[in-house]
């Protein structure tokens, strides 16, 4: 149980995927125009990552090492197409917003990275804990980044008015450069907190 908590919680801060491992940056930069988009993307990733880690960890002993990457990709690709179809069926507007980035989850290095580095070497329960932790970390980061960009770029948060009435939105925050600058600020803040903490203890 202790070990499971350790694997789960490392994804939330110590190895927070986009800000620490710098994995899966493509959707991080591209879809975080609003908090809702970031959250939706994160949920899709949680779904795919958890199931792919689960399945890969289940079959890890029968997969021949030479074709392991192909197997991982077939598994994640099927899961991603499943998500894509489900999204089209139940949350079509979100699907329209995320567009090409849903199918691109297949090549998201976070998924393949966790499959290769963790799920193919660890038992099922630890792999699921790892996937959930990483997935939640990813979702939180995307929602956070999307939230900041939405608040400054549109003056709303999850579609609701957030700033005072005379607030003039910085449209540049929801354009591509805004994503880079926001991400850089977050990285800087994370690094600052880490150094500060290590000095204290």
């Amino acid at each position: 149980m202790n070990r499971m908590w350790k694997e789960f919680s490392k994804g939330l801060w110590l190895e927070l995927p986009p800000f620490r491992l710098l994995l899966g940056l493509c959707p991080v930069l591209a879809v975080t125009k609003t908090a809702y988009n970031g959250f939706g993307m994160g949920c899709a990733v949680i779904f795919v990552l958890t199931l792919s880690n689960l399945i890969i960890s289940l079959v890890r002993k029968i997969i021949p090492p030479k074709v392991r990457i192909v197997c991982f990709i077939v598994i994640t690709a099927s899961l991603v197409v499943t998500v894509e179809l489900l999204m089209q069926a139940f949350t079509y507007p979100l699907y329209q917003e995320l567009g090409i980035f849903v199918p691109l989850i297949v090549v998201n290095c976070l998924i393949l990275g966790r499959a290769e580095a963790f799920a193919s070497r660890n038992p099922v329960h630890l792999s699921v804990a790892d996937a959930l932790g990483m997935g939640f970390g990813f979702t939180l980061s995307l929602t956070f980044l999307g939230g900041i960009r939405e608040i400054f770029g549109y003056g709303t948060f999850f579609g609701r008015p957030f700033m005072w009435a005379e607030f003039k939105p910085f449209t540049f925050m929801v354009e591509a450069p805004g994503a880079f600058i926001c991400l850089a600020m977050c990285l800087a803040a994370m690094n600052f907190i880490t150094t500060w903490q290590s000095k204290r203890f």
């Binding site: 079959v59 029968i62 997969i63 021949p64 030479k66 074709v67 192909v70 197997c71 077939v74 598994i75 690709a77 099927s78 197409v81 499943t82 179809l85 489900l86 089209q88 069926a89 139940f90 079509y92 507007p93 329209q96």
Partner: protein, 196 residues
């Protein structure tokens, strides 16, 4: 040798399971996706091109076979107080970057257009995309069936400047819808209750 056989077997098994799973999911979501696409892609255009209706054109849509061809078209009815007042038909034309889908509304009694709305397109942003703006689409509002062509082809529709190709594509799509409408009008009248 044994290793190779094992590789082939494992990979085939995984692919087989993946294929079965995907087939099932696709089957299960097929009708729902079709409906969602209609609501989210065609829905907004439908509201603009149909006038006075109190029904749900998407839910009451019907498919018709066009005579002498194998194509099927979906017709969206506008029903007011129980009587069919107009229909909308989507037509497609070749644009600069793929097909342009145009929803065209028809007034049944006057046999004229009630407007058009672009549903799908991949035109150049800022140039070709202006075909979806009111400056272009408003020209079709209450436009009679005849004379439907760009000015360069002796019609009376102004093309979007700088986007002749996109305008032509949209025009083609409108003309296709008009042709379909004229062909299947008797069947449409049979399918819904309408005022004589």
């Amino acid at each position: 040798m044994r290793e190779i056989i094992k590789m082939i077997l494992v990979l085939s098994a995984i692919c087989l399971v993946a294929g079965l799973l995907l087939g099932t999911v696709k089957q299960a979501t097929l009708s729902r996706i079709e409906e969602q696409v209609l609501i989210c892609v065609q829905g907004p255009a439908l509201k603009n091109v149909l006038k006075d209706f109190d029904n749900n054109p998407i839910a009451e849509r019907k498919k018709f076979k066009v005579d002498k061809t194998d194509t099927q078209v979906t017709v969206f009815p506008a029903i007011s107080k129980g009587y069919l007042t107009g229909v909308a038909i989507e037509g497609f034309g070749k644009g600069y970057g793929g097909d342009i889908g145009v929803m065209v509304g028809f007034d049944l009694k006057k046999d004229e257009l009630t407007g058009i709305g672009i549903t799908t397109m991949k035109e150049t942003p800022g140039i070709g995309t202006y075909i979806s703006k009111n400056d272009f689409t408003d020209q079709f509002f209450e436009h009679p069936m005849g004379n439907l062509a760009l000015k360069s082809q002796k019609g009376d529709i102004d093309a979007v400047s700088g986007a002749t190709f996109s305008s032509k594509g949209a025009m083609d799509a409108v003309q296709k819808s008009v042709n379909i409408y004229s062909t299947i009008k008797p069947e449409i009248l049979r399918a819904w209750k309408h005022m004589e």
